[in-house]
Symmetry: C2
Subunit: 569 residues, 2 copies
């Protein structure tokens, strides 16, 4: 059974809960974007994903990418699917029309990538970096580079990579050693080894555009000495640039994506942006990139839920408690409380995660397109604070929750046949890349909350709390959590000024406390959505996961607060 | 880097903390078993495991078991290692001397199997079921069957399997359909399909002895209609018995062990025990089997910890908080709080788990060998209540904790090279087999705690609490937990009498609350162990994980209590 996007869920959250069209039409760029257009785009996306991309997931895992003689062969069907994908205009969805794009909001691209990741995480790695590369080239490259590469990357005719990590420089990019030596024609020769480069070699597109972090000869050590360069696989004259794939990694999962070791052997590149500002050029796309990893988590968890839910509605084992004892027939697995709990808990994370992730995507659209500065500043605050939380908590849940879904299958979950173990293996990488989840926690607390004395986060949460109408249990729970979290943040700010190590000890717990609080808020949004529809928040579809949230997820909040408080002086 | 047993740790817990030799010498069978003998056996075991078994783990995963023409070829080196293993007498360690065994306590076997699982989970699956089969044959088979098979199984010259699961009968063995038709010579013809049968076909031993759950023609439906049969791969006259391997499963991990689909095609078998009492014959070995799965969890987590700890002491990334800012050199990963936390937390589970698991193994020795009934009854109580907790909580921690250890490696953890991802994949199965962890939780609460009104568990915990001397924080924390847990148990007993579904909704949380409480007790045992040695409980080796327990593990207790309490009327 392959993943199939449940379009009614996407529409409900995007249009009913979040009122996305109304929020987008405020932006001059998107005055034409109405609910009908959004529905149409997502329906088409769902069709493409379900029919073309999802069926390739199993082969992608089992055959995987093959490496021989410096070349990577992608699994059967991957190339044809990619050609159909870019020719249908999907990579260009949220690129500007003047660059060959469709000029649609980023939030649609976000939903598209959630579906794609759910359907086939490995395949989706290939186009997954395109939009970031597009923004990077658009905002930092010279006109000459733009003329040569911007449209090719916008449309996805050529795929792109980010070459950051080196064997000794992972979380710590300041240690990067790849060297860039200026040439008389204004280009640079890049030399060094990059590792963990997704899709740096493959047969999906005619050319590959590498964005490479490297160090100029006179650069200082550390992160400030890094510059960014663009190096294509094939030069404008058709010659092969010596940006060479030495091997691909054997990994736990994600076999449909080639993870390359790249040797740059005096490869020709051109600088993108200012010397020494290479990290800045990449950091502008960091929120979007992290959001997309969070969406991978949400998508993969939905894929796992779909499989487990279908199995639990077919498989019978043992009599469920409360069932008539005279009946000899075993009950459906879904009737057993332990299984129901697993399924409903994942839905609470998935649906609540969507509310938060799509809100973040909308805020990114506002940052890009709102004419006034105040909404942009508020949007920046949201994205800066919420994105690391989404990335860490929802990728963790993807792994943990898909593993819980595996339990629904019993022994059948551990064998390949049902495909659930592939999701567990594939999802695991999302806790590591784009900044490990531990780095996200430090990013949230140490780099974002503490520096302004907690003002940003406190303001954000108080505003959410103040805006809530209604006094049901869920809303009250959220408001109480906000009060506790704001007070705790104040204490942490004070204590951290005296003890430099303290925030590093509690960063993970702090991120979890914020995640659970945001999840509570997301569910109040779902619950308070007025619909005349019987499929709305009062239906079992939405009531069950909300109950799971109250029973099994929100109690973590008090535990995290207790753990942090015990560390305070 | 391969796993190496840390013998000093085993000795400390077994001899210093648990005073195992003194407890064993009370038993007439083991009056000769002293600390020197135990040390000697474990040192030899450690040497064998480290030198012979651990180096085969990687190949076991990468080459795996191969199936062709009904036969299974085990990975290179597996057969030689197994021949050396049984010829050195290891499978016979805890079997009776009159059966060809060494007559040593089961607790030594328990430690041996923890080491073996840590070193090479896949290989260890082969001999892992031997002792259970030995006990089953010894206590239930006819003299004729014993004469033919007992010594072969005791010594491990022939390997054994348990054939329980069928495609439609997993957790629910009452649905088993395999049929046993009596023959005129007193044997039976077995026909049916069994799945998930570990090691039912291989090249490790000259014969394989299958213990098969099947149904006599006149048997009633459900679990009471099941009988147990012994069916060898090769008949006494050398003929091939039609107990045939149809294929082996492609799995997430554990590739070194063949998981077989078996077709019994009128295979000849002989009944073991009484007709209709097949499950009883198997249930006598259930506590031992579950304990061994818990030990797999502990072992695998230790193997993961060893890898992560070694890596964290070599790899440098970023400056740790509090370090001199003028230094340009990156800090060792182990100096970063987030990494220290991961490592110390796993050690808290490993070391505390050992205290509990070895205690359980000692109690199993007491059940078997104590001449008086009162100690046997107490031991039965411990094993019955603690074993499902150990199985569920420590296999979950093996998976979760080895995944956390993977975070220490960053991107390097996701690739095969370092071997950590293999542990994550291998360990996952332990949450499923030998009764899924959800079944363990139901076993604890619904089948064991509630039926006697909570008396057994309350008595066990109160005795542990009463016996504690000293009033340090750790001891007080444990005593408070016991009080809370006993009160909660009383309320659950009352409420469950009125609401049949209730215990099924809270079983998982209840098991976790008990697990965390037992872990707290285990660490008080470690802490209160008097040693003149600088490597004792006051050393950093033991202080760090105890601090991790207090900071990050015990807070879960209050959360679980909150979750359960919210369900109470």
């Amino acid at each position: 059974m392959n993943y199939q996007p449940t379009l009614s869920d996407f529409h409900f959250i995007l249009h009913e809960v979040l009122q996305a069209p109304a929020r987008l039409q405020v932006l001059p760029t998107f005055t034409e974007v109405d609910a009908d257009l959004m529905r149409q785009v997502l329906d088409e996306a769902g069709k493409f994903v379900g029919e073309v991309i999802a069926p390739l997931s199993r082969t992608g895992d089992e055959v995987g990418c093959q490496f021989a003689n410096g070349q990577v062969t992608t699994p059967p069907g991957f190339k044809e699917a990619y050609q159909a994908f870019w020719q249908a205009g999907w990579p260009a969805l949220a690129c500007a029309p003047e660059d060959g794009g469709q000029g649609l909001p980023g939030v649609l691209e976000a939903v598209l990538y959630e579906m794609l990741s759910a359907a086939n995480h490995g395949w989706t790695m290939a186009p997954g970096l395109l939009h970031g590369a597009y923004e990077c080239i658009k905002h930092h490259a010279s006109d000459e580079l733009k003329a040569r590469y911007l449209e090719k990357v916008a449309t996805g005719e050529w795929l792109a990579t980010m070459c950051l990590t080196e064997p000794h420089a992972g979380s710590d990019l300041g240690l990067v050693r790849t060297r860039a030596v200026p040439q008389t024609d204004g280009s640079y020769h890049l030399s060094g080894t990059k590792i963990f480069i997704s899709g740096a070699e493959h047969d999906l597109s005619d050319n590959i555009i590498h964005l490479v972090l490297a160090r100029l000869p006179d650069a200082p050590p550390g992160p400030k000495g890094l510059s960014l360069f663009l190096a294509p696989k094939y030069m404008p004259n058709g010659a092969r640039n010596p940006a060479l794939c030495e091997r691909i990694e054997e990994k736990m999962g994600l076999h449909g994506s080639a993870t390359c070791v790249m040797r740059f052997d005096e490869a020709t590149g051109w600088i993108v942006g200012t010397p020494g500002r290479g990290l800045n050029a990449m950091f502008v796309m960091m929120n979007a990139a992290r959001l997309h990893v969070a969406l991978q988590g949400i998508g993969l968890l939905d894929a796992a839920w779909q499989k487990a839910h279908a199995y639990a509605q077919e498989r019978r084992q043992m009599r469920a408690p409360g069932r008539d004892k005279s009946s000899m027939e075993a009950s459906l697995i879904i009737e057993h409380p332990a299984m129901r709990r697993i399924l409903d808990t994942q839905r609470a994370w998935i649906d609540g995660g969507r509310v938060l992730a799509y809100t973040t995507a909308l805020e990114l659209d506002i940052i890009k397109h709102h004419p006034e500065s105040e909404p942009r500043i508020r949007a920046e605050r949201w994205c800066s604070l919420v994105t690391p939380v989404l990335k860490a908590a929802w990728t963790e849940q993807a792994f943990k929750g898909s593993s819980e879904c595996m339990q629904v299958f019993g022994g059948h979950g551990y064998v390949r046949e049902w495909g659930i173990e592939q999701i567990v293996r594939d999802s695991r990488v999302s806790m590591i890349y784009e900044g490990t989840n531990e780095i996200q926690a430090i990013d949230l607390l140490v780099r974002k909350v503490l520096p302004d004395g907690g003002a940003g986060l406190t303001t954000l949460l108080q505003e959410l709390s103040d805006k809530l109408v209604g006094t049901d249990v869920a809303a009250e729970t959220f408001k109480t959590q906000v009060t506790v979290l704001c007070a705790l943040t104040g204490k942490l700010v004070q204590a951290s000024a005296l003890d430099q190590q303290l925030p590093y000890w509690v960063a993970d717990d702090y991120l979890r406390a914020v995640a659970v609080t945001l999840l509570a808020w997301a569910w109040v949004q779902i619950r308070q959505t007025p619909t005349g529809d019987t499929s709305g928040p009062e239906s079992a579809r939405w009531q069950h996961p909300e109950a799971a949230l109250q029973h099994w997820i929100l109690p973590e909040f008090a535990m995290r607060v207790q753990i942090i408080s015990a560390r305070l002086p």
